[in-house]
């Protein structure tokens, strides 16, 4: 609720400035004009949002599966961590602005380069989240399971994997926001359709109102994905809320 008020005030200030400063709408359009144009062009916007959503979700799915498989390998075979992590850290230092056009140059205007770029920006945060999540397993739970006669694989499934869940979701929330930005960047560098290329064209046609409309759509998209991860987390980790609800007034004996 406070967030709605602060965003509302910001929009109001912007609106007032745009009206009373006499600035031309081709430089800074008022929010009301952006909204109006967004409604007028809603079909084009929706048409261009779909490929962006597709690239985001596909790229994210790829990076999630890769991060999951690799995190397991790293957990079972620690030296891999030292061998691979430097490579991934370097991959995070690559400036997207420089890499995006190159990837498009190599892989064309299709879906592949978008998926790759989304995967590139989201893979490492997810990998780190998972690996650190496994490490966060309580030492005593591991000891106890070993004493019960459980093997490594059993301990991984029973203890390490569920222990990683909070870390996994923290990583998910961060990288899902990167994912949309990554997809738009990839389209900006070259695409047939998508919010990124739509923004580029609108800018070249001196239509900042349409650029901002597309920005609004991408922001809404990110918020929806973010909300979905929060929802999934609640469903996947019912014990977290159960613990918080009764904290401090749990049954005492």
């Amino acid at each position: 609720m406070p967030a709605i008020i602060s965003v509302g005030l910001l929009l109001l200030a912007w609106e007032l400035y745009a009206i009373y400063s006499g600035i031309r709408p081709t430089i800074l359009p008022a929010p009301s004009r952006v909204f109006e144009q967004a409604m007028l062009n809603r079909e084009a916007l929706a048409d261009n949002a779909l490929p962006t959503i597709g690239a985001t979700l596909l790229g994210f799915a790829c990076s999630l599966s890769a991060a999951f498989v690799l995190s397991m390998l790293v957990d079972f075979y620690q030296p891999l961590r030292r061998a691979l992590f430097p490579v991934f850290i370097v991959s995070q230092t690559l400036p997207l602005v420089a890499i995006a056009p190159l990837v498009v140059l190599w892989f064309g205007f299709g879906l592949a380069p978008k998926i790759m770029l989304v995967a590139l920006v989201t893979f490492f945060p997810m990998l780190v989240a998972l690996v650190e999540g496994y490490e966060s397993t309580e030492v005593e739970i591991g000891q106890m399971l070993r004493a019960m006669g459980a093997g490594r694989w059993r301990i991984f499934l029973l203890a390490r994997l569920p222990s990683a869940l909070p870390y996994f979701f923290a990583g998910l929330r961060i990288s899902i926001t990167y994912a949309v930005v990554g997809a738009i960047f990839a389209e900006y560098a070259g695409a047939a359709k998508g919010l990124g290329i739509y923004m580029l064209n609108a800018k070249n046609n001196f239509r900042p109102d349409l650029v901002l409309a597309a920005v609004g759509v991408s922001a809404a998209l990110t918020l929806i994905l973010f909300g979905l991860t929060v929802l999934v987390q609640r469903l996947a980790m019912p014990w977290e809320r159960a613990g918080k609800k009764t904290e401090g007034k749990g049954p005492r004996r």
Partner: protein, 254 residues
Amino acid sequence: MSRLELRHVRKAFGGLDVLADISLSVGAGEFVSILGPSGAGKSTLFQLLTGAEHGEGEMLFDGARLDDHGRHFAFMPQRDALMPWRRILDNTTLGLEVQGMRRQAARACVAPLFAEFGLAGFERHFPAQLSGGMRQRAALLRTVVQQRDMLLLDEPFGALDALTRTAMQRWLEQMWRHHRWTALLITHDVREAVFLSDRIYVLSARPASIVREIKVPFSRPRCLGGEHARQASALEAEILDIILNPQSIQRTRP
């Protein structure tokens, strides 16, 4: 007759002697405590018994060398080690599930014990919803349902507040009288050791060796007042003296 017997067990971690020379035995249905200062290597002893670490010396169970470590011991770690994501019922079935029992069968096995452990009605709760004492009782339930030959209790009440700890000690003594588990308890709480045990081994500081074996002569159920209490505090004082003034023992030793 003794079930567990250790002869001259030693363990060093990277040149640092942790266990110097440990010989002890635990009889069938006997409650034995190992009492020693923090960092004396008490937990290391349990790691050797559960097979997490390997040391020198002989470890025998029912006269046979300990090789398949998982078979004889049910281990209860220092903190309750309940899995936050499992409901209490599913936490207590964990050992049975690891042994290969189906979840439904394991639940049927454990459920009748909830009342005796003061957990009735909390089967579907998550550990975070329970108090410290209840969590420890759930952890003990998880330990005893494994139906192993012997319980290894590693400072089970160390993380509880003083009142809850005392209540849990009384409860455990009562439970033990009913079930007569063969149990080895690690603790640094002198009163706890005297209250619960048939025998106490007093450990020295690191490198740990056994400085004294003490039989606790009091009858069960352990009374809490009168003559008993006086005798118990006299014994507690004697043990404290052994632990805190190691020189005096060396003098009395031949």
